[in-house]
Symmetry: C2
Subunit: 492 residues, 2 copies
């Protein structure tokens, strides 16, 4: 990857010092809000507020001009209107700053005049060796140095996922949702108009970063198609590269044009590129998080054969349909497994896959059943339905039962909650023991159980359809890797 086209983005993501141009004491200004976000997250380097009219900003000594800062500045965050940007970029170059984040909109996305201004800025920055994030960006987040140079006050949980987003709203929302569904982030950039640094460079940088295990990208357009392809191909051999591609329809392209001003390739071309380069395409924005979590926590499956444990026959049918429609295989269990299950389950059980617990109340029989299915050599992936109940939603409908006392609802809730905790531990243990993905689906609308499970290292999906989509994409990624490695062997 280390060639002349791929620049080192360390000054953007791991700066040792930072200047805030347009820093302000007025809490209605971005120059104040962003600086508060930076200070509040405990950035580990030095901070230099730049403001010609103030002595101090938020209690820190301010400088009238970035050229007056005595020490070296790695990163400048510029929160000033578009028309002032040119001057500040020139000052940054003079001051030897290594990278700048240009927050303001009002460039290419607004028309011809903006496009010209943007080109001017890029020219000056490139000539001066200044890396440029944006313009029209919501900023950068980086866990290793506690950098949160963002517009909204989201607080990502730290983790192993990196995200580049061509939409600031969607990107920062994903950081926030991450903490509600149990996805932690190592790095994030709202790439804005990508006037200088394009998405493929961020992806290359994340690809080379050992702290990053999974890369996510929300993309509306890809400018440098060839470079993007080469980077995607190299990166996705090392770690999963998950993309949500917006602007797939005429209406979507129209909306994207006025939003990020990005150039859009035809949808067919984009899809072909994804297939060839091993990119995993997310079906929805939120599915990016489900995919990320799964790739971080689960071993890669050896194949597409799924074993299912279900509490309730109907869900077994729904899951069988969903998995097969997604291209997975609802496998046959070995005769050995069936005999083992005979010893545990009532005589009238259906002796097949899905393994239906036929309404047994005894939660004690679930872990040994799961163990048998996970041990079976015919299964590559195991999914448990109703194994994690999600006490919140259940207790909610239970509590409202008029013949029950409020306290009884709470007792049931705490009992279910404890049982769920134990089940989460069982899931983690099964994965460790059998080395294949063993996951659960909560059949309630309780998102809290999804987050709690993730914190314990277990995967619980909110719906059967999510499980089907995510797991099938995992299988296809493995198949891609196998094809690639065969290819390489032939070429050697």
């Amino acid at each position: 990857m280390l060639d002349s086209e791929i620049r080192d983005l360390t000054p953007v993501f791991e700066p040792r010092s930072l200047a805030m141009i347009g820093a302000s004491n007025n809490p209605m200004k971005w120059g104040c809000i962003i600086l508060m976000n930076i200070l509040g997250y405990g950035f580990q380097g030095k901070i230099y507020p730049i403001n010609p009219h103030e002595e101090k900003i938020l209690g820190i000594r301010a400088y009238p001009d970035i050229r007056r800062v005595e020490e070296e500045v790695d990163l400048a965050v510029i929160a000033r209107p578009a028309e002032a940007t040119l001057q500040h970029i020139e000052e940054c170059v003079e001051a030897g700053v290594k990278a700048a984040i240009v927050i303001a909109g009002g460039f290419r996305e607004t028309g011809e005049e903006g496009r010209k201004l943007e080109e001017k800025i890029v020219k000056i920055a490139r000539r001066g060796g200044l890396l440029l994030v944006g313009p029209n960006t919501m900023g950068v987040y980086s866990a290793p140095v506690n950098l949160r140079a963002l517009m909204p006050p989201v607080s990502p949980v730290k983790g192993e996922v990196a995200l580049v987003s061509q939409s600031g709203n969607i990107g920062t929302n994903l950081l926030g949702f991450g903490s509600t569904v149990g996805v932690g982030f190592d790095k994030f950039v709202s790439s804005g108009n990508e006037a200088d640094i394009e998405c493929y460079e961020y992806i290359a940088y994340f690809g080379a970063d050992p702290k990053v295990k999974v890369i996510l990208a929300y993309l509306e357009g890809i400018r440098s198609g060839r470079r993007f392809m080469r980077v995607a191909e190299e990166v996705s051999e090392r770690k999963p590269l998950i993309v949500y591609k917006a602007g797939r329809t005429r209406a979507g392209v129209r909306a994207a044009r006025s939003h990020s001003g990005a150039l859009i390739g035809s949808n067919e071309v984009v899809r072909a590129v994804f297939r060839q380069t091993g990119i995993i395409e997310a079906s929805t924005v939120n599915e990016m998080l489900d995919l990320a979590k799964t790739f971080v926590r689960m071993p890669l499956p050896n194949g597409r054969r799924v074993g299912i444990l279900t509490w309730g026959g109907g869900y077994g049918v729904v899951a069988s349909d969903a998995f097969e429609e997604a291209g997975l295989e609802v496998t046959s269990l070995t005769e050995d497994s069936l005999r083992e299950l005979d010893k545990i389950l009532p005589p009238y059980w259906s002796r097949g896959n899905p393994v239906d617990l036929v309404g047994t109340f005894d939660r004690q029989i679930q872990p040994p059943c799961l163990d048998i299915i996970a041990r079976d050599k015919n299964t590559d992936i195991v999914v448990a339905l109703g194994f994690i109940v999600g006490s919140g939603a259940f207790a909610g409908s239970y509590r409202s039962a008029p013949w029950r006392k409020e306290e009884e609802g709470e007792i049931v809730k705490s009992w279910l909650s404890k049982a769920d905790e134990e089940s989460m531990n069982v899931l983690v243990e099964m994965v460790r023991k059998h080395g294949k993905p063993v996951v659960a689906v909560t059949l309630t609308t309780d998102m809290d159980v999804v987050r709690r499970a993730a914190e314990k290292g277990a995967i619980v999906y909110p719906t059967i359809e999510t499980a089907a989509s995510v797991l099938s994409k995992m299988v296809r990624y493995v198949e891609y890797l196998r094809k690639r490695s065969k290819l390489r062997r032939v070429e050697d």
Copy 2:
């Protein structure tokens, strides 16, 4: 609909008196749990527990045998093992009972012997004029008489939706989830093996019931295809009939066979039947609730043209793609509307649909923008993204910001929550004023806001994709109705 094949199910859904055969004081027995559920919901008719060994059950005078009850019994709930059922059915017939719910499994779904037993029971019941629900059922719920003869202690919110489910678990779970997403039920039956009453009869009954506005069905198999079709065709002209069809794949059919023992038609045939009869197919189990809620609350749209208000350009792109891919049209607004919007929005707004609020913080400008889009003669449906924020999830990520005090998070939460309440009122007002669907999508994972909105009569979807799928199905239903009415005019 009133022909000899469609029986009157009033004794099942609006019984004036009820006997519980197998009633028990032992809280580990279904004969106790179900009776507690019946008592707890305040059934309005008389209740006769039947148990040969007890004087009283749960404090109520018990009878040794249903034939010993002096008054007329409309409905018997039989919670006794399969092998005892035959005898109880004979007793019910002798006693002149009008309908029986047979809870036990162990019939056709378990093999040849069970099938024979089931046929015997049906023969006796039919000869004796006894309607039979099940066997292998989780029971019946009916709001008008406060009947909750169910196995699990779910407490449905009362409403205008009726549900027939061939899976007891899925059916009763849907009743429970309904209360967490704001869907109320008027009637429910877990139809079990459908040995006597088949799904088409329930649908016909719900179709003729003026209290029911929307019918839901979870189906694994359809036995009497022709009758089902005729009923579906007639019913769906009067009210939406929404079906989730399980058993679409080989694996699904296999699982269904051991579950409900139902016969399954080929998937192609089933789909063709749905198209011809106006049935609305739900893509997921949970989508049934989203569809139901929308049909209950929203007027039918006149066409497929959607106007979008978005807080954040990225979501505008995602929505444009999702709506177009679902077959809706992201329309052009009239020049009049654009000029009206010019007066409200900053000069750099994109003058197109989606109407992007370009990051304006001022929530006051959203209602007039929404009003302009909803008034526009080019829109049939209006969707607002980010208009309802969902304070829970946002406050969660906000609260965890280390530079914020806990109280500040709470202040923000309560402020957002209040703003959301106002926005919900605006949605309701827009629907009333413009007579077209005006809905919102929360961009957070906050399900609470979804429920609160429904209670106020407003529709908030959890994701953009749900909105796209539900609204496009609504449009297709309207097109079906139009085609039908043209057809009828030609025939006249």
